[in-house]
Symmetry: C2
Subunit: 140 residues, 2 copies
């Protein structure tokens, strides 16, 4: 497996208020945005700010602030998502959601690390990952 984190997703309650912090505060430019999510192409991975209710729906888990977020590790195939989830479960992880196809495409499951930090294990063919593990946003 690549030593790679593909996405940091932060849950937000007010998308415009959050956008102002990241665009006016940090001076960052979104690579994609719609009424529920803003994506920023970062240094080798993607930052997403997603409405909390939607992230909760996707995870099947209520989230509390501070700390409503998930990390993602993208893999190279649907089968690989299941392989990685099982390997993580064998190393002390707790499966929250078995890999399945969400409405927005691809395949993703969720697993908690031993300290209850959430990882999404996803197959998303629209987002290229290069040989150095650098992940680029792509419209699907």
């Amino acid at each position: 497996m690549q030593q790679q984190i593909s996405v940091i997703t932060l849950a937000v309650s007010d998308l415009e208020r959050s956008r102002r912090f990241y665009t006016d505060g940090f001076g960052w430019t979104p690579v994609f945005e719609n009424e529920e999510i803003v994506f920023y192409q970062m240094n080798g991975f993607v930052l997403g700010t997603w409405l909390k209710a939607r992230l909760e729906d996707d995870m099947g888990r209520g989230l509390h602030s501070p700390g409503a977020f998930t990390l993602a590790h993208n893999v190279s195939s649907e089968d690989q998502a299941k392989v990685v989830m099982d390997r993580l479960a064998g190393a002390g992880g707790r499966i929250l959601l078995e890999p399945a196809a969400p409405p927005h495409g691809g395949i993703r499951g969720y697993i908690a690390d031993p300290d209850d930090h959430t990882w999404e294990i996803a197959f998303n063919p629209a987002w290229p990952i290069d040989e150095n593990g650098h992940v680029t946003f792509g419209a699907s």
Copy 2:
């Protein structure tokens, strides 16, 4: 400012248990470790797993699980840390800790985004950042 995240730091209660998840589960190799922290060089940034009590000390803030973590944005000078903190505060951020020198070196402050996600704004001359914003672990 670079569109760049330098570090993801996850609070952990048992370093060895966490290490097993990341090394045996994901198959990742630490770039540095001691009795309180394990660092992994990732795709353009650094992942740290740090004993929760030490991260809480550093932040001056108690943390709850799930969600005990901080993101970091490293800047190019001590002065710049203050400039960035003030700019973020003006864009809806809430300062948790003004930039100051911790025992482990460098300069860092903490600020919460509008959804209470914590950002460390740090000057760490030991960790190079290239023109693409890719951050490399360095021993200080």
